[in-house]
Symmetry: C2
C-alpha cells in the first residue's frame, strides 16, 4: 500500500492551501502534513478498490476524512481539552502557532473537508458528492466523533462499564473509521449485502483501533508513539485496559480482528486484500 | 418577514438535537436557539423567493448557514480569541458550559450544518445538496470566514488601510452573507445574469453589515447590542470607524445600500421585495 500512501500525501499537499491568509494555511498544513499513519485514507481507498469504485471520488474522500481526523487532534490537544504538547513527534499546533490560530486552523480544516468533497467541475458525480458529505458530516458530528468526545470529557475520573465505554469509543474513534470504509464503498455500485458487511468490518476495526490505542498508551513509550504515553492514566480516563485489564483487552482486539476478517469473507467482494491487511495493521501496530 | 422568521426558529428547534450525548446537545442549542437576528436565514429565504426556488432546500440552507454563523460566534467568544462573556444578551457558551464544551459544541455545529444540507431522503435533489455544501464550505473556510478571522487575529493593534480592511471583512463577515444569498439563489433555476447581480447584492450587504457593526460598536451601549460594546477599541482592532472616521463610515454604509438596491433592480427578478427590505434592515438596524 506504499503507493497509495504516497498518493494520499501528494493529494493532501495539493489540497491543503499554503496561501490561506495570515498564516492560517501554514497552521493547517502543519496540522495535517508530514505525519500520521493515514489509516483512514487507506481504508477509503481499499474499500473503493473492493467495490471497484470511482477513484477520483475516493481520493477526495480520503483527504476529507483525514482533514476531519487531523482537525479533531488539533482541537483535542488544546489546553482546554487534553492540553497536550506532542503529536506525531512534533510540538502540537497550539504550542507552535498559539491557541487562537490552532482553533481557527481546526475550524478551517473541517470546512476544507467539505470543500474537497464538492469540486465545482464534473469530476465527481454530484449525487456522490452529496452522499459523501452526508456520511462524513454524520460521522464527524454530534452523533459521531464530537458526541464521543463529549462523553469522554464528561466522564473523566468516573467509572464506566464496558457497554458505556464501547458506546463512547464507537462514536469517538469508531464512527470516522467506519465512515472511511463506507465512503470508499459509496464510490462504487450499491450492493446492500456487501454494504452491510463492510459496515460490520468498519465497526469492528473502529473499535479494535481504540482497544489497541488503550493498550499502547500503557505499554509503549512516548518516543515510540510520537505522542505523550500514559496520558489516559494521568488524566484518569476510563479505557479498555482500566475496565477489562490488559490481557482481556488484548483478547478483545484479536476477536475484533477475526470479526473484521469474517465480515469481508461474507461480503462476496473479490478484491479485499488491502482491507484484510488494514485490519491486521490496526491490531498489530506498535504505535 | 415575521412568518419566515418563525419558521426558521422552528426549523432550528427541530434540527439541532436536544439528545446529543453528555450535554453536547444542550450546549449546541444554547449557542444557536433563542437569539440572533437570523439575517442569514432570512437572506437565504428571500433569495429563494426571488428565484422561485426549492423551499425545502432553502429552509435547510437557512438552518445550515445560521449554524455556521452561530458556531463561529461560540468559538470567537472563547478566551483564546475575543474572551467575551456576553452574546445575544446571555452569558457566552464557554461561560455557561466551560471552554472544552464550547469548543466541541462549535465543532459539532459546523458538522451539523452539512448534515442538515444532505438529507438521506429525496426531499432535496442530490445535485442541489452538493451545490449547497460547495457554497457553504467555501464561505466558511480558509478563503472565507476562517481566513478573515485569521487576518483579524494577525492585525490586532496594527494599522490597516481601507483596502486591507475591506478584504478582511469581505472574508470574515461578507463571505457568509453573500453565500446566504447565493445558496437561496441556487435553489432556483440557473440564470447567469441574475446570479451575478445577486452576488453583487450579497457582497454589498455583506460589507455594509460590517461597516454598520463597526459604527454600532462605538455608538451603542452593550444592553442595546446584546453583546459587549466598544470592544473593537478595547482590543485595539482596526475598524471602518477607526480607519475612515464615523461620518465617512456612515456614508459608506449608505453607498453600499444603494449598490445593493441597484443590483436587485438590474437582476430582472420580479419578487425582490424582501431582499430590498433586508438591505435596508442591514443598514438601518440599531443592534
Amino acid at each position: 500500500m506504499r503507493g497509495a500512501l504516497r498518493q494520499v500525501e501528494q493529494a493532501l499537499e495539493r489540497w491543503v492551501p499554503a496561501d490561506a491568509p495570515a498564516g492560517l494555511g501554514e497552521a493547517m498544513r502543519y496540522g495535517v502534513l508530514d505525519g500520521g499513519k493515514r489509516l483512514r485514507p487507506l481504508l477509503v481507498r481499499a474499500a473503493c478498490e473492493a467495490v471497484n469504485g470511482h477513484a477520483d471520488a475516493a481520493m477526495r474522500a480520503a483527504v476529507a476524512v483525514e482533514l476531519i481526523h487531523a482537525y479533531s487532534l488539533v482541537h483535542d490537544d488544546m489546553p482546554c481539552m487534553d492540553n497536550d504538547v506532542l503529536r506525531r513527534g512534533k510540538p502540537t499546533v497550539h504550542v507552535r502557532f498559539g491557541e487562537a490560530a490552532a482553533m481557527l486552523a481546526g475550524d478551517a480544516m473541517q470546512a476544507l473537508a467539505f470543500e474537497v468533497l464538492t469540486p465545482g467541475d464534473a469530476s465527481v458525480p454530484p449525487a456522490l458528492q452529496a452522499r459523501l458529505c452526508a456520511l462524513l458530516s454524520r460521522a464527524a458530528g454530534h452523533a459521531g466523533m464530537a458526541g464521543g468526545q463529549a462523553i469522554d470529557l464528561a466522564n473523566i475520573g468516573r467509572a464506566l462499564d464496558e457497554a458505556q465505554l464501547r458506546d463512547m469509543h464507537r462514536r469517538k474513534t469508531g464512527a470516522l473509521l467506519e465512515a472511511s470504509v463506507l465512503m470508499g464503498a459509496a464510490t462504487g455500485a450499491s450492493d446492500p449485502s456487501a454494504w452491510t458487511e463492510l459496515s460490520t468490518y468498519g465497526a469492528a476495526i473502529g473499535l479494535a483501533f481504540q482497544v489497541v490505542d488503550d493498550i499502547l498508551d500503557v505499554t509503549q513509550a512516548s518516543d515510540k508513539l510520537g505522542k505523550t504515553a500514559g496520558k489516559d492514566l494521568q488524566h484518569n480516563k476510563p479505557t479498555y485496559v482500566s475496565v477489562l485489564g490488559l490481557a482481556a483487552a488484548r483478547d478483545e482486539a484479536q476477536q475484533l480482528r477475526r470479526a473484521a476478517h469474517e465480515a469481508l469473507d461474507r461480503s462476496g467482494l473479490a478484491d479485499c486484500a488491502h482491507l484484510h491487511q488494514l485490519a491486521d495493521l490496526v491490531v498489530d501496530r506498535e504505535s
